[in-house]
């Protein structure tokens, strides 16, 4: 399989136009994704200015070490997928596949680590409505913090899961020579999506894990 087997659809004049359209479409979709997550970040901001202390208290209950490792994992995976696109553009198939595999594996390990976090929180009674045992002055504000924590991280994990599946498909197709230096738009778009998932996490990290850590 190679680019010749990807005829340009009727609505496009040529492959350049097709690629422009696909990339612009993906970026427009990413802009909507920013606003999807944005609502949660806006909710976070507006609640945090009302309950700064409770948010700090809530944040102190999260696992900062694991959160930092997760961030590093996602950053590395982002670099890996960027390199794999580069590799395909330069005609390297095996290394590109391997890099995609690494990206998917890093994504999966992120999910596993997050699973451990959720489990620890369950045991600590930090899951609103499901298992909530917090008492004290900040209990209510913390419950709002944890509602947001779950909305944000679960929605993000959903994106990571979709990304991992896409990356595996891309790795499989790259291995089977679906993409080459001339045609690799789906791979590029998947990489863009994965980077956005990374960017979201870059903001999740300080807002969820790093509040009120000093002292």
């Amino acid at each position: 399989m190679n680019a010749r087997l990807h005829p340009v659809p009727e609505q496009f004049d040529d492959p350049v136009q097709q690629r422009e359209a696909a990339t612009l479409g993906m970026w427009a979709f990413l802009a909507t994704e920013i606003l999807f997550f944005g609502v949660l970040f806006a909710g976070y901001t507006l609640c945090r200015v009302r309950f700064p202390d409770a948010f700090a208290a809530g944040s102190r209950h999260t696992d900062m070490l694991l959160g930092t490792i997760e961030t590093a994992v996602l950053l590395t995976s982002s670099c890996a997928v960027a390199l794999s696109v580069r590799e395909v553009q330069l005609g390297g198939r095996q290394l590109a596949t391997a890099l995609l595999g690494i990206t998917a594996a890093l994504g999966a390990s992120f999910l596993v680590m997050h699973g451990f976090e959720y489990y620890a929180e369950y045991r600590e009674g930090l899951i609103p409505a499901v298992h909530w045992t917090q008492q004290g002055v900040y209990a209510k504000g913390m419950e709002i913090f944890y509602c947001l924590y779950y909305f944000i991280t679960l929605f993000h994990s959903l994106h990571v899961s979709i990304g991992v599946v896409l990356l595996i498909v891309m790795a499989w197709r790259t291995w089977h020579r679906a993409y080459d230096a001339r045609y690799h738009t789906p791979l590029e778009l998947t990489a863009l999506y994965w980077h956005l998932v990374d960017i979201v996490w870059i903001f999740v990290y300080p807002l969820i894990y790093l509040v009120g850590r000093a002292g």
């Binding site: 359209a21 612009l24 009302r50």
Partner: protein
């Protein structure tokens, strides 16, 4: 520009396949537009039935026709259906889908499969909403205000919320498709400043769709989860803020008003230039007005919340921004009027709809100033004044323009001509029926009748009876086009490629157009509306 006579017109898109399957699996933007057309027409009459029930109940002050619960469900269903299943998809998904590629000289939209997928999402969302109705309905009002919707309502909030959530994706994908199509698929020579204003309007609407709709989707998810689990960030018991929900909701829902009216403005620009056979007056100002409305439209949402517990200072900021957005709307009205100057005006049905639009839009827009003025809004908000105001914009404005557009492009879409006399009659009847229905509601509002009232004080009855009488006329005038347009499908005379002798690329191809619109990609050499006299 001149029409090009072709000896043997190519097979039209309607003849590309006749079975149900050929429609349900089509990737052709024109067929998808028709699928949408069928969907929104069905929902329009469903929502209309709910409105009829509301108006019937309000003939008498006592709540004697239906119970308060049924009444609340009727106006909620009316709102949900009309906003998300009729108005928002109406012009963009039908006329926009059909015409956008034709007007820019493209063979289809950029992502035809995504386009079909949007329609399926629309239908699935619609089915959830219908399921909600059949299982007993929802009584929160279309605004889903917390904590009523999350903690107190005993109706099927979840189903409605899921339905609206899904249909939101439909409009995101439509918007995405339009943006990419306009950017990448314009014919040679079709520069930005040669785009018809309808295309500009679609582009601006697409922008609003992709940037606002995600906010609605997430906000509704937050509502759904809060209802499901009994905790959430809007929950007052936790110190959560119901006003926060209103911020998010209106961050979407105010721009959504522009999703409804911007396409209408685009349509009317086409209709008025056609009716007056003149270039649009002040094309560039019209373009900037469209963009200005789309962008500033995002900055005014707080004017829905002047008495909702929003801070006094924030209200002042939102108030001034709301006044500012009235300026581009005023520019548009003045330019339409000036377009008539030295024109060669014919009063065919599309032109009548367009003139009706300008009149009703002015009344709706100017009353918006009363609501933007904080001190007046205190008294007027949540009364029938608001109901009248937004119906003037959305029904008087958007629906008039939609029907005008349907009449104007009907020969292009179906290849048939309708009965001009009936069409003019319906347009005039609609204008009078509309004013009789909604003008009394301004007076009711100023006299203090709150909206969403099942029972009301006897002193308000006179105006309510007038309004309900008007609604009857309005209902008839909405049914008429269904009849004569339906009749024209079988019996109407064949339309040529360009029955209006209009400019615009869509008229340069046969009616109905062939599968990929143009035999050869056209090249554009001049701006829009180049009418010669």
């Amino acid at each position: 520009m001149s029409t090009v006579e072709r000896p043997a017109p190519p097979r039209s898109y309607l003849e590309e396949g006749f079975g149900l399957r050929s429609w349900l699996t089509t990737h052709d933007h024109k067929r998808i537009a028709i699928l949408y057309g069928i969907g929104i027409t069905a929902f329009f009459f469903l929502g209309g039935l709910a409105a009829a029930l509301v108006r019937l109940e309000l003939v008498t002050p006592a709540g004697d026709l239906v119970s308060a619960e049924t009444y609340n469900k009727a106006f909620t269903f009316h709102g949900v259906v009309m906003v998300w299943f009729f108005l928002i998809p109406s012009i963009p998904a039908t006329l926009g889908n059909f015409l956008l590629p034709l007007m820019i000289g493209a063979r289809d939209v950029a992502f035809p499969r995504l386009n079909l997928f949007s329609w399926y999402l629309y239908i699935v969302g619609g089915l959830f909403t219908l399921a909600c109705l059949l299982l007993g309905g929802i009584d929160t009002g279309w605004t889903f205000y917390t904590p009523f919707s999350t903690m107190f309502s005993n109706s099927h909030v979840m189903l409605a919320v899921v339905g609206v959530f899904i249909v939101g994706f439909s409009s995101i994908f439509t918007g995405l498709n339009f943006i990419v199509t306009v950017h990448t698929l314009r014919a040679p020579g079709m520069t930005w400043m040669r785009l018809p204003l309808f295309v500009w309007a679609m582009y601006a609407v697409a922008l609003v769709m992709i940037l606002a709709t995600p906010v609605l989707a997430m906000t509704l998810s937050l509502i759904a989860l809060e209802r499901l689990f009994g905790v959430g960030i809007f929950d007052p018991a936790l110190g959560g803020d119901p006003v926060l929900f209103q911020h998010f909701f209106w961050f979407y829902s105010h721009p959504a008003v522009y999703i409804m009216i911007l396409p209408a403005m685009g349509v009317v620009s086409e209709l008025i230039t056609h009716g007056a056979r003149r270039r649009i007056f002040g094309y560039q100002f019209m373009v900037w007005a469209i963009i200005g409305i789309a962008v500033v439209g995002f900055l005014v949402w707080g004017h829905h919340m002047f008495v909702a517990g929003q801070s006094m200072y924030a209200s002042i900021v939102f108030s001034i921004l709301s006044f500012i957005i009235a300026v581009p709307s005023a520019i548009k009205v003045f330019n339409w009027t000036a377009t008539l100057y030295k024109g060669d005006i014919s009063f065919d049905a599309p032109m009548l709809y367009a003139l009706g639009f300008v009149g009703l839009f002015m009344l709706g827009g100017l009353t918006g100033l009363f609501l933007a003025a904080t001190a007046l809004d205190v008294n007027l908000t949540d009364t029938y004044f608001v109901v009248a105001h937004f119906h003037y914009i959305m029904v008087g404005g958007a629906v008039m323009a939609y029907l005008g557009g349907v009449h104007y492009w009907w020969p292009k879409i179906t290849g048939r001509l309708y009965s001009e006399a009936w069409a003019r009659f319906a347009a005039i009847l609609m204008f009078f029926g509309f004013n009789l229905t909604f003008f009394p509601q301004y007076i009711l509002g100023w006299e203090g009748m709150p909206r969403r009232y099942h029972e009301y004080l006897p002193q308000y009855q006179v105006w309510n009876v007038l309004s309900s009488a008007g609604a009857t006329i309005l209902g008839v005038s909405y049914l008429l086009p269904l009849l004569y347009l339906g009749w024209s499908l079988r019996r109407g005379a064949r339309a040529g490629a360009n029955p209006w002798d209009a400019t615009g690329l869509e008229w340069q191809t046969p009616s109905p157009p062939p599968l990929h619109n143009f035999a050869q990609t056209p090249t554009v050499t001049e701006g829009p509306y180049a009418y010669r006299q």
